[in-house]
């Protein structure tokens, strides 16, 4: 059996600093967030989205921020193509995005296919003015589609066999990002 090794990419402290920076960058572009909605991409983007929202509320008193969770399962381009069946998660968007500025939030940007699916899925909730992407980890040189983040936490060069694992306290553990070699 092959031995699995992992390398710490980001510690809890580093993640905390990065999240505050990303929150500030969002404020730079969206100021009071009147026409902006944050959308966490299910399943793993929602932890990051919750954190960013908490920072904006607690540290910058932006208490009226709208946020939702978007599940992309039924919009994926690999239905019936994988070994395992796709499992859906809950979509929770109780507003329309018509004429809104949408910020997608996801933990890792890899091939870009999830974001492609999310771009289609969000159209069911109206026509946004613009859509931006915020991601904690941007895996360089691994994109299948012309999609890039507007806000990125850390760029990582990883080869295809490697996986980037993001852990959150809410997810049962500590805040940490690992590069796992399987």
């Amino acid at each position: 059996m092959e031995i699995m090794s992992q390398k710490l990419l980001l510690s809890a402290k580093e993640i905390d600093i990065i999240l505050h920076r990303l929150a500030c960058q969002l404020i730079e572009n969206h100021t009071h967030f009147e026409d902006t909605v944050l959308v966490g991409i299910q399943p793993r983007g929602i932890f990051l989205a919750d954190r960013i929202k908490q920072i904006l509320i607690n540290d910058y008193k932006l208490s009226t921020i709208k946020m939702g969770y978007l599940d992309i399962t039924f919009y994926r381009d690999d239905f019936r193509r994988g070994e395992k069946p796709l499992e859906a998660n809950k979509t929770k968007i109780d507003f329309t995005v018509e004429d809104k500025r949408v910020v997608f939030i996801d933990d890792v940007l890899y091939t870009g296919r999830s974001i492609r699916s999310a771009l289609t899925a969000i159209q069911s909730f109206g026509r946004p003015i613009e859509i931006e992407l915020l991601t904690l980890i941007d895996r360089r040189f691994s994109r299948h589609l012309p999609i890039q983040p507007n806000y990125r936490g850390r760029q990582v060069d990883a080869i295809n066999q490697e996986k980037v694992k993001v852990h959150w306290i809410e997810n049962g553990g500590e805040d940490a990002v690992y590069l796992v070699n399987s």
């Binding site: 599940d71 039924f74 019936r80 395992k84 069946p85 499992e87 809950k90 979509t91 899925a121 069911s124």
Partner: protein, 309 residues
């Protein structure tokens, strides 16, 4: 579990409890989808579904067609009244002709019990039974249980009485299988002539007094009197049936609790239930119709995910 244990939905009889749970969890997601401004997902854009109705149907056919379209499948419809079946073509020939047009899934209603099972042994496509004679109507039972779960939180431990023509009812049989699987208690109630002799072998109790049955239950599923399936008279008159087995507001108000009223439709207003009951807040008949689309989307989606490329 994230995959159904079956490749066809021929009857509730062939399902496991986990299958029903998976269908309901998936239906929850689709119920959210069909309440969005745009009620459609692209999952099944490379799947073609044939709706073969060898027997009349309005709501089931519409519900299936809507579910298929909400999933972006291509849909073809066929009804026996306007087809070559009238010219003497066999079932397998009819279906194989349709399948040679590259159809992936068949939704079939047929007057003969077991038609779906028979077909599944002879053709390659995935089959959903939309009612086979007086045998099973699995998607109706699933949407009924789903509606009970939505209204009362869960099905397990709930007391359900199925009232009316149990003998000719595929809805009753599928409901009994589905409710049993989920741990509900079941009674059937109706004229003795319309209750099958060995029904208790299925683990249900018979109650011939409607008031007692309603007093016992949490949910009453009122079946339609199926005059079209009755070659002989099973009760003296419709008026007498209504007096003994019809539910009206006065009867409901006389109970010391509020029960849930269900009906698979189409309703014979004034026969099995009166209008004031059908339109009351205790009745979840229109919720059943809405849930039908979500549940059928879940069944179609889960079966389609097993069709290999």
């Amino acid at each position: 579990m994230s995959e159904l244990s079956v490749n066809h939905l021929l009857g509730i009889k062939y399902l496991k409890k986990e299958d029903i749970n998976l269908i309901f969890e998936t239906a929850d997601h689709f119920k959210e989808v069909i309440n969005r401004p745009i009620k459609k997902v692209p999952s099944l854009r490379d799947i073609t579904i044939a709706n073969l109705f060898f027997e009349n149907s309005t709501r089931t056919r519409l519900s299936f067609e809507l579910a298929e379209k909400r999933l972006s499948a291509d849909v073809i419809n066929f009804s026996a009244a306007s087809s070559s079946v009238k010219k003497g073509e066999t079932l397998i020939d009819t279906v194989n002709n349709i399948l040679s047009m590259k159809v992936d899934m068949v939704v079939m209603r047929h007057p003969n019990p077991g038609a779906g099972v028979f077909l599944s042994k002879h053709i390659k496509a995935s089959i959903i039974n939309a009612g086979d004679g007086a045998h099973e109507h699995p998607t109706q039972a699933l949407l009924d249980s789903y509606s009970i779960r939505e209204k009362l939180g869960e099905v397990q431990g709930k007391k359900v009485v199925i009232v009316g023509d149990i003998l000719h009812s595929r809805v009753a049989l599928s409901n009994i299988f589905a409710l049993k699987l989920q741990g509900a208690e079941i009674k059937v109630c109706g004229p003795k002539t319309l209750i099958p002799k060995y029904i208790e072998k299925l683990g249900v109790k018979v109650e011939t007094n409607l008031t007692k049955a309603l007093q016992w239950c949490d949910v009453a599923n009122m079946l339609r009197v199926q005059n079209e399936r009755m070659e002989i008279s099973y009760f003296p008159s419709t008026r007498e049936y209504t007096q003994q087995f019809g539910v009206n507001k006065r009867l409901l108000d006389s109970l010391d609790k509020e029960i849930v009223i269900m009906h698979p439709g189409p309703i014979n207003r004034g026969v099995e239930i009166t209008s004031d009951v059908a339109d009351s807040k205790q009745a979840i008949i229109l919720d059943q119709v809405q849930n039908g689309v979500a549940v059928r989307m879940a069944v179609i989606y889960l079966l389609a995910s097993k069709i290999k490329q």
